[in-house]
């Protein structure tokens, strides 16, 4: 099937206005007759639930955390982009649009990205009005800083906690609606299934994580704002609870999953220190402005860093990419670090790490400047590693960080299932094959504050409100399926823990579907994954019962979904015989090692339809047309 993104016709800059004029409305008196479910309360979910509540809809908001203030958007450090052009440095909506399309290696939809750039300015206005304490200059005006992939300063920030401050703004707006009674909150509740009636999304089945009860909730439309799936790699910068369950179970009910192989590996994270490790911590990319990356020239060199003289060090980024040096783009820096460690030059006990050395900058301009620029990062590094990076180089290694792929949505953010809307990182729409820094926050809030509140009305206006109760056969079956699945998991009583399986899954994914992929490796993954999945369903050990708070059971459900979803990622990566953005196939590279895109054959969105776990999915394509930017090789030389 050829998919249609249903973008409005006409000039790029008028598309969104045109669509807004075309969209049907729901009258104020009728809004309260509609019920909308919002799953997830990160930036996308909290902003959507709050705004829909303000408009007068009945909203039911769900999150698995104990409070809606804890979605993983909270951990975003750097900032949020907007085309305000406050510094007068030549920024514009078109430039932000162009940078984002190019950063995504020309694998995203022009119309969506342009709309995102347009709305970026409204987001900043909104957040300031909410009391987000953005950084300011001494005159009281908002301050900006620069970020990767752009030649202008357009990033707004609140110290190193921009995500936290934006989320607290949205959480405040959401809290206000909870108080007003338009939003009903369901914390510590996890979505297990999407319920369709006559092919339309009309509710969800959830597990109350405290009582263990499995219940259904009906609605007139469902919004999934459940984030990304980087935890498929086991170790990532995501929170422990971040998972693919909500989106994957929607996929199993017929929602197409688009470009699942597009994942972002961030180059500067604190390396793994042992098998027990549970997660990875990001160190801001800005550190590469002042740090130099190197490894010893001798394999397995056990001397400490300062004992190795300059001529015995390999500054491999500067050697391989003399034009960009230590500031090579994310994907290239990540790959180079992994390759050099794979060859045996890595540092530390595990051999999985490279030095990020500030010695030169500490000499000049000196420690005071470094403290001013990165003091909090050095502190965080010391807390985790026990090492003082003022005295010895940091050790860093790439880590899975963000997933550009997700459920397929049209321009209205509606999936191929009518009534199912997907927002934020959970959808695939705006970042193509690689996301630029400070763009994730922008997308989550654009979707939640300014897009879905408009587009969902168009769907609702075409439906009669409140038809579905939770007693119908579809809901009953959904609850029974969830109960059966839970009982089945609990009855296995095998010998391996959920974590052991998750770690093995992570190893397969990292080795074969990670930063570099090859046909052989992907085929190997497609052999290993079904074996591991089969073993999981015979040999996993989940203690306790389903009728109580049971964290192992929660994890088991999520890992069971990751085990199936992983295969979809590998299939998608195998199909895409090109390299673009975060998807790097070793067979497809330029002589200098850059990604080699194939616009003739792969300038499309790959959207996969679920056809049963053992049958393999069916591919649908949405061709990508570029009318306003030139398809060019993404050069950073």
């Amino acid at each position: 099937m050829i998919l249609d993104g249903k973008c409005p016709s006409g000039p790029l800059s008028e598309k969104w206005d045109k669509r807004c004029r075309e969209l049907k409305l729901v009258s104020p008196a009728n809004k309260r007759r509609y019920r909308i479910i919002v799953v997830g309360t990160g930036l996308a979910g909290a902003s959507a639930a709050a705004t829909l509540g303000e408009l007068g809809y009945n909203v039911e908001a769900f999150c698995f955390q104990d409070s809606p203030r804890r979605g993983h958007s909270i951990a975003a450090q750097g900032g949020i982009n907007a085309a305000k052009n406050y510094p007068n440095d030549g920024d514009s909506i078109f430039r932000l649009f162009h940078d984002t399309i190019k950063g995504g290696d020309f694998r995203s939809r022009e119309a969506n990205v342009y709309r995102l750039a347009m709305l970026s300015n409204n987001i900043i206005d909104q957040c300031v009005a909410q009391g987000v304490p953005f950084a300011r200059d001494y005159a009281g005006y908002l301050d900006n800083r620069s970020f990767g992939g752009a030649q202008v300063s357009r990033t707004f920030y609140a110290r190193g906690q921009t995500g936290q401050q934006l989320l607290l703004g949205a959480y405040g707006a959401l809290s206000r609606q909870i108080k007003a009674g338009t939003v009903k909150l369901h914390p510590r509740t996890e979505m297990l299934d999407l319920v369709l009636i006559n092919g339309e999304a009309k509710g969800i089945t959830v597990r109350d994580l405290v009582s263990g009860r499995i219940e259904s909730h009906s609605a007139d439309a469902v919004c999934l704002c459940t984030g990304g799936y980087a935890n498929v790699y086991y170790l990532s910068t995501n929170a422990m609870g971040s998972n693919v369950t909500a989106t994957y179970r929607a996929d199993k009910k017929g929602a197409f999953c688009a470009n699942p192989c597009f994942t972002q590996i961030h180059p500067t994270c604190i390396p793994v220190s042992g098998d027990y490790q549970s997660k990875l911590t990001l160190m801001s990319e800005s550190l590469r402005n002042d740090g130099r990356v190197w490894v010893p020239k001798m394999k397995g060199d056990k001397r400490s860093a300062h004992e190795i003289p300059a001529e015995e060090r390999d500054y491999f980024l500067e050697r391989k990419y003399p034009a960009y040096g230590d500031l090579a783009p994310r994907d290239i820096a990540s790959r180079a670090a992994k390759e050099i460690c794979d060859e045996g030059f890595g540092t530390g006990n595990s051999g999985r790490g490279v030095y990020l050395d500030f010695a030169d900058t500490l000499k000049h301009p000196g420690e005071v400047k470094i403290r001013e620029r990165y003091g909090n990062l050095f502190e965080m590094y010391e807390k985790i590693t026990g090492e003082d990076a003022y005295k010895q180089p940091m050790r860093i290694y790439p880590a899975p960080h963000y997933t550009m792929g997700g459920l397929w949505v049209d321009y209205n953010l509606q999936s191929n299932i009518p009534g199912l809307f997907v927002l934020g990182e959970a959808n695939f729409s705006d970042h193509g094959a690689n996301r630029l820094g400070a763009s994730a926050l922008m997308q989550g809030l654009a979707d939640g504050y300014f897009i879905v509140p408009y587009t969902i009305a168009d769907y609702l206006a075409r439906t009669m409100p409140g038809k579905a109760g939770t007693d119908g056969p579809e809901f009953k079956k959904s609850r029974e399926d969830a109960e059966t699945f839970t009982k089945k998991l609990l009855s296995i009583k095998g010998r391996k823990t959920v974590n052991e399986f998750h770690r093995e899954l992570g190893r397969i994914m990292w080795d074969h579907v990670g930063m570099t992929r090859s046909e052989d490796g992907l085929k190997r993954a497609l052999e290993l994954l079904p074996e591991l999945r089969a073993e999981f369903h015979e040999n996993v050990n989940i203690p306790g019962s389903g009728g109580e708070l049971n964290q192992e059971l929660e994890k088991a459900g999520r890992v069971a979904d990751f085990l199936e979803f992983a295969e979809l990622m590998a299939r998608d990566a195998l199909l895409r015989n090109e390299s673009c953005g975060g998807h790097f196939r070793t067979e497809y590279q330029m002589p200098d090692g850059e990604a080699k895109r194939d616009d003739e054959n792969f300038c499309y969105v790959a959207a996969w339809e679920f056809r049963g776990v053992d049958n393999g999915p069916e591919l649908h394509k949405e061709p990508l047309k570029f009318e306003n930017v030139e398809l060019a090789t993404r050069s950073y030389k």
Binding site: P133, N499, Q551
Partner: protein, 253 residues
């Protein structure tokens, strides 16, 4: 290293609960505290026992989910550090560690080390926000904010809502938590309009939710992983008195 743990085990809100002695063997110095508990839990599962239930999520000190009293101190011995960022090199080989949940009347235990902190959400719901609708707001630079005020607002707004301040307070008071939000918004011109009403409804909600009064012990500041200062409590008190002169508190619903 090897450690003896005394961990609070409680099946549910109605169970009495008790400290259970457990051994943590072959613990690496590089492990985080929660990774040490992961390891203990893996062992318990292998032995056919129930693992220790504890809240955690981001494991980088920002989500505010983790909540354990370690050797009598909320978030443990390291200053300005959440449990998830605490590492085992802060403990001695062969030592004992007592691990308990947040203890406060407003935080009932759900299971083991997990407590119900929704009372904090209800304080925010009462009025811990600026009542602005989405859309129709002024251009971001239309209202200037002095840098010092923006910085102070940010100092207060760094609160992660973990509840360590409540757990540390002998009165189980949520004063520091409430004060941080009241101060953050009262510092900004956008938040001034509702400042009087906000301080009234938030303090009222705080009392209704079962939190105690503040008697200036300052344990909250010592326990706060984000270094929120008690000066904000003074700010709350000033805002409260100002609101009373205006009669704002009597009018609150």
């Amino acid at each position: 290293m090897n450690l003896t743990l005394f961990v609070w085990r409680q099946k549910g809100p109605d169970d009495k609960g008790r400290l259970e002695q457990l051994n943590a063997k072959d613990i690496s110095l590089e492990m985080s505290f929660l990774e040490m508990l992961d390891t203990v839990n893996e062992g318990l599962i292998k032995d056919g026992k129930e693992p220790i239930a504890f809240d955690h999520d981001c494991r980088e000190g920002i989500c505010g989910m983790c909540s354990q009293v370690i050797n009598g101190v909320p978030h443990g011995p390291q200053e300005k550090t959440t449990v998830c960022q605490l590492h085992m090199r802060n403990f001695k080989d062969g030592g004992s560690i007592y691990i308990e949940p947040w203890r406060a009347r407003a935080f009932p235990v759900i299971k083991d080390l997990i407590v119900d902190r929704s009372a904090l959400d209800r304080i925010i719901q009462a009025g811990g926000y600026i009542s602005v609708h989405t859309g129709g707001v002024p251009e971001a630079n239309a209202v200037l904010v002095p840098k010092e005020d923006a910085d102070t607002a940010m100092d207060a707004s760094e609160c992660i809502g973990c509840g360590a301040c409540v757990a540390a307070c002998p009165n189980g008071s949520a004063m520091l938590f409430t004060a941080a939000k009241v101060s953050h918004l009262a510092m900004l011109p956008q938040g001034r309009t509702e400042a009087a009403r906000r301080v009234c409804v938030m303090t009222e909600a705080m009392m209704q939710q079962g939190f105690g009064n503040c008697s200036n012990h300052y344990e909250c500041q010592a326990a706060c992983p984000k270094g929120i200062r008690v000066q904000f409590i003074a700010k709350l008190n000033r805002e409260f008195i100002k609101a009373q002169f205006k009669g704002a508190c009597r009018k609150s619903p």
